[in-house]
């Protein structure tokens, strides 16, 4: 009897399949990669000449926007993308179909996550390249390890949070609405679109509570001239990772493979979660 294809091969196949899917859904492409780029161009055209002052020094608006929107792209590609696509596949019954095949369920979900991380990486590189060429972004080799590390912690955590949202919402349409209703207001209080350090206290507090601001600042710092290398922001990364772990716990406990309405939740979903981990 033939052996099963190797795990590496299967994961590569699933990742490729999810990337091709993304490539073939123009709406997903536009909102994940296109929109942040458009925002970068617009914000810089509108406000790019100024500077923002932070507690540690002055940063040019161009550098501020590039770093922040690069982080936002990474979040779109993971959190928003997964929270949209996974419930869509569940509604269609595609998840259930895969669950009836010998493909280990974690490899199916792994393909989703790895593809999201690759898309995030492409988006961030696009953004930083544009920033370096057009918007005076400084890319220092000595800060790159921190940038990569921050990126990985961020995409890992936001992918987990995307899976958690996918697990708790019932249908694809509500998932899409929920993802945007969460991420857009969060971006406004998290130093992505505007600098909020002078904003009312409650806005600052809100921004500090959610993980996006911590991720965006840690990532921005890797490209801020007055921050000395190596620029690791351990506290911020730790806080983002904490949210990621929380997301992972929710995702594992609540994940379902069946379209909503076809089977009662409860016992089954717990079993599904166990399956997802094995």
């Amino acid at each position: 009897m033939n052996a099963f294809p190797s795990t590496v091969r299967l994961l590569a196949m699933q990742t490729r399949y999810q990337i091709v899917t993304f490539w073939r859904i123009p709406v997903a492409m536009f909102f994940t990669l296109g929109l942040p780029l458009i925002m970068l161009v617009l914000f810089n055209a509108l406000f790019g000449s100024g500077t923002f002052s932070t507690s540690e020094g002055e940063i040019s608006a161009q550098q501020f926007y590039t770093g922040g929107l690069a982080a936002f792209t990474a979040v779109s590609a993971t959190f928003t993308n997964l929270a949209n696509m996974v419930p869509l596949r569940r509604d269609e019954g595609v998840l259930k179909r895969w669950r009836g095949t010998p493909l280990p369920t974690w490899i199916y979900l792994g393909g989703f996550i790895v593809s999201a991380v690759i898309i995030a990486f492409v988006g961030v590189v696009l953004m930083l390249t544009l920033g370096a060429v057009v918007y005076d972004l400084e890319i220092e080799a000595a800060k790159m390890p921190a940038a990569i590390m921050t990126f990985l912690v961020g995409v890992g955590s936001f992918a987990a949070l995307g899976m958690a949202l996918a697990a708790v919402v019932k249908s694809a349409s509500s998932a899409s609405a929920a993802a945007n209703a969460i991420i857009l207001p969060m971006a406004f209080v998290s130093n992505i679109f505007i600098q909020v350090d002078d904003a009312p206290e409650w806005i600052v507090a809100l921004g500090n509570f959610f993980p996006l601001k911590h991720f965006a600042e840690a990532f921005q710092n890797c490209f801020t001239p007055f921050v000395e290398p190596p620029a690791f922001e351990w506290a911020s990364m730790g806080y983002v990772a904490l949210w990621g772990v929380l997301g992972l716990v929710v995702a594992l406990r609540r994940f379902t493979w069946e379209p909503s309405g076809s089977a009662p939740r409860g016992r089954r979903s717990r079993r599904a979660a166990v399956d997802a981990t094995t």
Partner: protein, 320 residues
């Protein structure tokens, strides 16, 4: 060892009992049809056997494995065609067959799969552009791509046009002759009669009869007398009038009157005598051998009358 062995299977959803103490087996290489109306518990039973749902109680063995603990090896040996489940519409037929096939130990080659299901012309068409019947054939293709020993088909031809049904029947027959065990659910009686070696009739969560299509037909009185309700008789009086004349309970559906009768000669004599005396014409009068449909209707009628015991003595032993 049987391919499928089910003993006293029960599945409750809260207070709702979907499957209520069902027992049956399917021998290796057999084509077995679970027959029943919507809500009879067919899909629930099948999804338990597939490992998609967990039984409330009872014992289930599929290919020697408890499907509640289904692992990768088990899923490699079965093929599943669910009643409704989507497939990635952004992909072509070729891509999904290769993609899904890629997770099995020894997948069938693409050409073989598309020939078997009759999708040669559509290999490079996106799933999203296919008709409903063609998509159902994609479902079938993905069910057989892993060379399953056991294939689950949950209402495989619902919504098909007659020629597509015929083609699917040919495929299922060919698989059956190839030694693949097939568990089929359907509410089409002709489908069960045509394809199945044995049939189990499910009604309201109970297995109320089981046997080969011939056995089931023979268990019920052998002949059906039917005719259209004559003008002079009110529909409400039909049961009393004709039931009395024929000596059995009749079924009325629209204007059609039907009865299953053991000894039709005398009954036909009485009813034609009555018609001649009354001066009415019995339109579409026919006397024919029962079909599986008549068996099914008579069985489910009994079940619906609140008779909890199996309608056929035969099913009694099956249920134990």
């Amino acid at each position: 060892m049987h391919a499928i062995d089910v003993r006293d299977l029960r599945k409750h959803y809260g207070d709702v009992v979907a499957v209520d103490g069902v027992s049956f087996h399917v021998a290796a290489g057999e084509v077995y049809a679970l027959l029943g109306e919507n809500g009879a518990g067919k899909s629930t039973a099948v999804e338990i056997l597939e490992g998609h749902r967990v039984a409330t109680s009872g014992s289930v063995s599929v290919l020697g494995v408890d499907p509640a603990r289904a692992d990768r090896d088990f899923r490699d040996r079965i093929g599943i065609v669910l009643q409704s489940s989507g497939v990635e519409t952004e992909f072509t037929v070729r891509e999904v067959i290769e993609l899904y096939g890629g997770s099995y130990r020894s997948p069938r080659p693409l050409d073989e799969v598309v020939t078997l299901v009759g999708l040669e012309e559509k290999v490079d068409a996106r799933i999203g552009s296919l008709s409903g019947g063609q998509r159902r054939r994609v479902d079938l293709a993905l069910g057989i791509v892993g060379r399953p020993e056991l294939l689950f088909l949950d209402e495989p031809t619902t919504g098909f046009d007659p020629s597509a049904r015929r083609r699917s029947w040919d495929l299922i027959e060919a698989l059956g002759q190839d030694g693949t065990t097939v568990l089929l659910t359907t509410h089409y009686l002709d489908e069960a009669e045509h394809l199945a070696d044995r049939v189990g009739v499910l009604s309201a969560g109970h297995l109320i009869a089981e046997g080969t299509p011939e056995q089931l037909i023979n268990e019920v009185s052998g002949t059906v007398v039917s005719f259209m309700l004559p003008d002079g008789v009110q529909a409400g009086d039909a049961a009393a009038t004709f039931g009395h004349l024929l000596g059995v309970d009749i079924r009325v559906s629209g204007r059609l009157i039907e009865a299953s009768i053991d000894q039709p000669t005398a009954a036909v004599h009485r009813i034609t005598g009555w018609a001649v005396d009354a001066g009415v014409e019995l339109e579409s009068l026919s006397v024919s051998r029962v079909s599986l449909e008549d068996v099914y209707l008579s069985l489910t009628d009994h079940a619906h009358d609140g008779v909890d015991e199996p309608a056929l003595g035969h099913a009694d032993e099956v249920d134990r």
